[in-house]
């Protein structure tokens, strides 16, 4: 035979992995330091495919790292800094123990520090890489900036997070890149489009929140430490892409406005600067003064293999986007003190609106309640005393809903004291055949430029009221029956249509295109015929698959119909209840 004896676990996957403790020993670091290093360097534990082989026969659950990753960590300069820091702490403790205050001071002056700049560059070789990973960084910074300064983490970290978050908000305002807002029970979700990358982040509500105990604060602080560095560099680049000063400077004339007029000292200039910035009411100074004709027509180059239709669609999209960006342009808002100031100011400013608030609420108020040019006043109380003529009093949800709907919604639903329409999530995109709630349908119709639901409903209501007055129930029932029938017919039609359309069929065929009906019908017939033939020609296996898919689709539609019916029942129940209450009130 000959040759050396092969031993177990000396080859293959057992040698590719290393347990956490071994890795820690190899790096000569304590466990917290090791954990910090891994987080900073972006090295994560790995789950081996064959645990028993890697674990040398044992099946105990362990944390494994790839050996190559750990070898890569060995070259990291901040490992040495960690060791130095450990020695520094030891020396300092000794000096304190011996009451050598001078030594302690000297040691403190020479405290070893490290920077994460090179790691940022290493982990994100290009700016786009960094942008793609910004979700986490933003969420973390916004979260930490709301922490109380009670020693859960360093005060400096909180301040830095606040500064970076405010800078980013100011950038989003300046670039008008906000797209979606969603008020959830957990926090506020935002989505912005920065240089073509969608960036989503969540901010907690500004209410005092209790600290959960089952969260490792040290780990979170380490992540934040890295993300603050990342966000700082990203902010710098973003500001420079817009020709803005970094660190941000408030525009000269805006600054004058922001300054408290009565000569009362608010705070020291250096202290109040961040607050002025975080008021989000002033625009930022640019490195180069903006020219008047800023919006230059973009030259359009047709992309290879792009049809005129696609180009048209693209242009339309672009126009819609531009319109969306200027949603609140020319509107002047005033925020009452009971509404959340920061999110509202941020959202309004992102879409070109002007916003102010009570002077005592926050720095940066630019105009007073009594200003006659105010168009919208955001109010969140059941009724408003002393309404000023010439402005709408609205609940804050109007702002967010309008942003999500990409148009200024009719204000009637949002008057103070009125039961609000539901706040829909803009992050949900309905697939074909999904159930779409009637609110959303209405919204979609409005986006398309139609105005169907609103008036008819109102009319209906009026009619209903009249009917009530007449006590003519039969008619109403009939009408309802009719409408139900109509809806059923509609649903059936939809079902048929959906059943017919398969994957190959383009969805847009039925969407309102100006064509001769005969042609369309002919085409349709031909297509359906072709499809039928194609189905006939299918192999058994493929036919089976096809049937399965179609069945799934049908089931989906059925479910959607069921949901619609349920909703209808719910609505009618509500209506009847309303009627009863009305009657009771009248009686």
């Amino acid at each position: 035979m000959g040759g050396l004896e092969k031993k177990k676990y000396q080859r293959g996957s057992a040698t590719n992995y290393i347990t956490r403790n071994k890795a820690r020993k190899k790096l000569q670091l304590s466990l917290p330091d090791f954990r910090r290093l891994c987080i900073l360097k972006g090295i994560y534990p790995h789950e081996p495919r064959h645990k028993k082989k890697v674990n040398k026969g044992s099946t105990a659950a362990r944390t494994f790292y790839l050996l190559k990753d750990i070898k890569f960590l060995l070259h990291e300069p901040i490992v040495n800094k960690f060791r130095e820091y450990k020695i520094f702490v030891r020396k300092l403790r000794k000096a304190y123990g011996k009451s050598e205050w001078g030594t302690a001071e000297r040691l403190k002056d020479n405290k070893p520090t490290y920077k994460l700049d090179h790691i940022v560059k290493e982990r994100y070789p290009t700016f786009v890489d960094a942008l793609r990973d910004l979700d986490d960084a933003l969420s973390m910074c916004f979260l930490f900036s709301t922490f109380p300064r009670t020693g859960k983490c360093h005060v400096q970290t909180i301040q830095l997070c606040r500064r970076l978050a405010v800078e980013f908000l100011n950038y989003v305002i300046a670039s008008r890149s906000l797209r979606k807002v969603f008020l959830s029970i957990k926090g506020i979700y935002y989505q912005a489009e920065v240089l073509g990358q969608p960036i989503t982040w969540i901010t907690p509500y500004t209410f005092a929140h209790d600290h959960p105990t089952d969260v490792d604060y040290r780990v979170m602080a380490t992540f934040t430490e890295f993300y603050t560095t990342l966000l700082g560099f990203v902010n710098f680049r973003l500001y420079h892409s817009l020709n803005l000063h970094y660190p941000p400077k408030i525009d000269g004339q805006a600054e004058v406005e922001v300054k408290p007029a009565e000569g009362k000292e608010y705070a020291m200039d250096s202290e109040s600067y961040l607050e002025k910035l975080s008021a989000l009411s002033a625009s930022l100074a640019r490195v180069v003064a903006p020219t008047q004709e800023d919006d230059v027509e973009m030259d359009e180059f047709p992309v290879e293999g792009e049809t005129a239709e696609q180009m048209d669609a693209r242009r339309k999209e672009q126009e819609a986007l531009e319109k969306h960006k200027k949603l609140f342009e020319g509107l002047r808002f005033f925020l009452n003190r009971e509404v959340p100031r920061e999110p509202l100011a941020f959202v309004i400013r992102c879409f070109g609106g002007q916003v102010s608030w009570d002077k005592s609420l926050c720095i940066g108020a630019t105009y007073d309640v009594s200003d006659p040019s105010i168009t919208h006043q955001i109010v969140d109380r059941p009724r408003v005393e002393q309404q000023v003529v010439g402005r709408y009093y609205l609940q804050p949800q109007w702002v967010f809903d309008s942003v999500n709907a990409k148009l200024c919604l009719p204000v009637a639903d949002y008057f103070p004291g009125v039961l609000l329409p539901p706040h829909l999530s803009p992050f949900v995109t309905e697939q074909e055949g999904d159930y779409i709630p009637p609110e959303k349908l209405k919204l979609l119709a409005m986006q398309r430029g139609e105005d169907p639901g609103e008036e008819t409903e109102e009319e209906e209501e009026e009619e209903e009221e009249e009917e009530e007055d007449d006590n003519d129930k039969d008619e109403e029932e009939e009408e309802e029956d009719e409408s139900e029938k109509e809806e059923e017919i509609k649903l059936k039609k939809m079902e048929e249509q959906k059943a017919q359309s398969n994957k190959a069929l383009p969805v847009k065929v039925t969407a309102g295109k100006v064509r001769l009906e005969d042609k369309q019908r002919l085409e349709q017939e031909q297509q359906s015929e072709e499809k039928r033939l194609a189905i006939m020609m299918m192999k058994k296996r493929e036919k089976y698959l096809y049937k399965k898919i179609m069945f799934g689709k049908k089931r989906k539609i059925r479910e959607a119909n069921k949901l619609a019916a349920k909703r209808k029942a719910h609505d009618t129940a509500l209506k009847e209840e309303k009627k009863k209450t009305k009657k009771a009130r009248r009686a």
Binding site: G42, Y44, P45, E47, A61, R62, F72, H75, K115, L116, H118, V120, K121, E122, D135, D136, S139, M140, L143, Q156, L160, R163, F182, L183, S184, K186, Y189, T200, W201, I202, T203, Y205, F207, H209, H211, P212, D214, V215, D216, V219, M220, F223, E225, G232, F236, R237, V339, P340, Q395, P396, Q397, L420, P422, H423, L424, S425, Y435, P437, R567, H570
Partner: protein, 563 residues
């Protein structure tokens, strides 16, 4: 020196006054004076600064010879018990006079050199020798020693001679005890701590100055160097460091190249006022030194960073960093969305309840109907006994039958084990048999192959079937992997568990934004998201573990309380 030396007053004892005269050399001389008159010279080898311990009389002097003016302050002696009482003074003086007369200090005294010779016993440079030596000088020496000890004691205790103390330092005016009574209250507080008393300096003699601490090492050399450079400076020659400083200052002053660099302490990575730069630009400070350099040059001269392996650019999970809550989690959701979310939360709760119930059911105490009766207990105890015996019997029978039937037909004579070598013939035969077997097999294989030519179709079918099977397996594997990819990995002892769904019940929903009560915590959400994306392993908080058991002791005060 003798007689003309500068006198230093030493002290007084009850028997006389002494003055010490510091000599210029190593030897110290003491002038012995009695009642303001110099009576002789003493010499001491054991002199430590002021405190002259033992003095040997060297030369008695006769005749009235005023050496130093010694102040007469004898009246102070009466105060301290350390001192001899004023009544004792005359007797002491008498004793001195006696000793003097014995010594021959009177004009009529004999010359000590001619006195009766006594045997010297041993050396007299130590006290032991003195004790043995009982001459008049010895006595005087002892007296002087005692006196000097007394002087040092006074210095230690009173900071100087008591005789020289002003009256205020020794007496106080007693004005009755009116104040005493008032002060008594604070006495406890005024009393210093024992430790302070212990640590107070014992002696009032100030410690000697440490001369060495005022000396500069290499002082002479330094001074000479300084003088040298001063001389050179007068001629206009400056040291190199100074010249460089001057030139740098001049350079900085003359052309203002760039902004004045102020060396502010570099701000740390978490300093809220720290600055940032364009890290993705070509000339960022991180790589400014490396830009435009030859790669070979860099490789030889610079320590280069290890490249990050591209495998690390991939994240362990493709899940989005921020997962948006379901539409039912809106603060003002639509009816359906809210119901859907509630249903989901309900299902989670049902699953939890089911698991709980299962455990409870397994641990429940049996009810009366299920409880074991005497019959069931007996049956349980007999379980398997009866049936087993039957089965065994059958088996045994079967085995017997087998043994009987199996032995008869197959009874080949076993080939006897050959302990020895095979014969040549046997080897040959075996070899032939092997070759034949091989040939037979080859032939068979060839024949099979020949036959396969006619089975081509079925073979192709088989192959295709096998390939399809492989493909199916691969697809299944991939599907499974894809499914597993979305799932959080198992990274440690503890499994990842989804956080509880944030949901508000229908009656908890807020009417307006003002009345909204937030549910859940963003911090918790972020932390769980990190775990879900396998960026950190799920851990549980370390539990506090006591090393030793607590010992419970009832305090006496507690025990004494009776109710």
């Amino acid at each position: 020196m003798r007689g003309t030396g500068r006198g230093v007053y030493v002290g007084v004892n009850g028997r006389g006054r002494y003055a010490a005269c510091k000599g210029g050399g190593a030897e110290r001389h003491v002038a012995l004076c009695v009642a303001g008159r110099l009576v002789g010279w003493g010499g001491g080898s054991v002199c430590t600064g002021w405190a002259v311990r033992t003095v040997r009389v060297l030369q008695p002097r006769g005749g009235a010879f005023p050496a130093f003016p010694i102040p007469e302050t004898g009246s102070a002696y009466a105060v301290l018990p350390v001192r001899p009482s004023p009544h004792a003074l005359p007797t002491a003086m008498a004793a001195v006079a006696e000793s003097l007369s014995f010594l021959g200090l009177t004009p009529s005294a004999r010359d000590p050199a001619t006195a009766v010779r006594r045997r010297n016993r041993g050396p007299r440079n130590r006290k032991k020798g003195w004790k043995r030596w009982a001459g008049p000088e010895a006595r005087l020496g002892r007296e002087i020693g005692d006196f000097l000890e007394d002087v040092t004691l006074q210095q230690r205790v009173a900071g100087g001679l008591i005789a020289e103390q002003p009256d205020a330092g020794l007496f106080f005016v007693d004005t009755g005890n009116a104040e005493k009574g008032r002060k008594r209250k604070n006495k406890i507080r005024e009393k210093p701590l024992h430790i302070d008393l212990v640590l107070q300096p014992d002696s009032k003699v100030p410690p000697p100055k440490d001369i060495l601490s005022h000396q500069i090492p290499n002082g002479k050399k330094e001074r000479r160097r300084r003088q040298f450079w001063e001389r050179l400076a007068q001629r206009g020659v400056l040291p190199r460091a100074e010249r460089r400083l001057q030139t740098r200052l001049q350079n900085a002053a003359a052309p203002p190249r760039g902004p004045p660099r102020e060396k502010a302490p570099e701000k740390g990575r978490v300093d809220p006022g720290r600055s940032f730069y364009d890290i993705w630009a070509d000339d960022n400070p991180l790589e400014r030194a490396l830009v435009g350099q030859d790669s070979w040059f860099l490789q030889q001269t610079q320590k280069q960073r290890v490249k990050r392996p591209p495998r690390l650019q991939q994240k362990p999970s493709q899940l989005p960093a921020v997962e948006v809550i379901a539409p039912g989690g809106s603060y003002n959701p639509t009816f359906e969305d809210h119901q859907a979310l509630l249903l989901k939360a309900h299902e989670v709760e049902v699953m939890k309840k089911r698991a709980e119930d299962k455990v409870e059911r397994q641990l429940r105490f049996p009810t009366a109907a299920e409880a074991p009766t005497a019959e069931t207990v007996f049956r349980e105890q007999c379980e398997g006994l009866l049936e087993e015996s039957e089965g065994e019997e059958e088996e045994e029978e079967e085995q017997k039958e087998e043994a009987v039937g199996g032995a008869q037909p197959s009874d080949p004579p076993r080939p006897p084990l050959r302990p020895g070598k095979k014969t040549e013939q046997q080897r040959r035969k075996e070899k032939e048999a092997r070759a034949q077997e091989l040939r037979r097999r080859q032939e068979k294989a060839w024949r099979c192959r020949q036959q396969q030519l006619f089975r081509l179709r079925s073979l192709g079918r088989q192959l295709r079937r096998w390939e399809q099977e492989l493909l199916r397996r691969r697809r299944a594997r991939e599907a499974k992997r894809r499914e597993m990819e979305g799932r959080p990995r198992r990274l440690g002892r503890i499994k990842y568990e989804d956080p509880a769904l944030e949901v508000q019940l229908s009656d908890e929903l807020a009417e307006s934004l003002r009345t909204l009560k937030p549910e859940g915590s963003v911090l918790h959400d972020r932390f769980k998201s990190l775990q879900k994306r396998s960026l950190i392993e799920p851990r549980e908080r370390a539990k506090f573990k006591r090393k030793y058991r607590l010992k419970y002791v009832e305090k006496r005060a507690f025990r004494e309380v009776t109710l």
